[in-house]
Symmetry: C2
Subunit: 139 residues, 2 copies
Amino acid sequence: MRRHIATVSATTLLGLACATGVAEAQPASLYAPSAMVLTVAQGEDPATVVRASTVSCAPTAQGTHPDPQAACAALAAAAGTLDTLLASPDSNRACPMHYDPVTVTADGVWQGSRISWKHTFSNACVMSVTFNGNPLFAF
Amino acid sequence: MRRHIATVSATTLLGLACATGVAEAQPASLYAPSAMVLTVAQGEDPATVVRASTVSCAPTAQGTHPDPQAACAALAAAAGTLDTLLASPDSNRACPMHYDPVTVTADGVWQGSRISWKHTFSNACVMSVTFNGNPLFAF
């Protein structure tokens, strides 16, 4: 409801701004926006996406991600530097060495700053072991 | 609920795939994913985003966009070629000619194909006139 009111008033402001010749993009809320699209694609080129999920973190965690709260916590822990997701693989698991690449992407906004992140794993097992239970791409 | 079951079974498949050495990324549903993050930023460089919105279109329209159904209809009408959003400006409205750029972006997946689209308008009035009531960036 609050979001709706904010949207309406932003639109009104836009209208007024146009009328007076002072046009500015107005933030719709006090929160810096955090909204991401996460994808998992088969192959090195992420042109063909097999799974995708959205997550929005401010003011509340929501999205088509099965656990938006956990995804937002994972994003907050990475603090916008998604390479940190690759830093703690499960050292107790082994993977076959065959090459059947899986590419994950994260695009959008984290606390007002644009993010465009991509990583290719040599196969899905390597992806699973590398993420090591991190919920961000668990969809 | 159905989504959750699909997620769990995909995870189970992943586990099995790792165990047997056959690792594949499995689609979580029969629908090609359509999920986008839309942003509006002040300036030419969209590094600082003032508004962001998510929309997911399959199997149902949802997201933080104030009207996900209208946004999905607009995306379907554009058929993944978002430059068509610029094709029908309102010819009955005039805008001041000052330069206070607003940049809009759309990143994500449309029916399984990745999309990364960006356009800079010279000011917010020009943006409003160009979109001409299109609901996609009305948030």
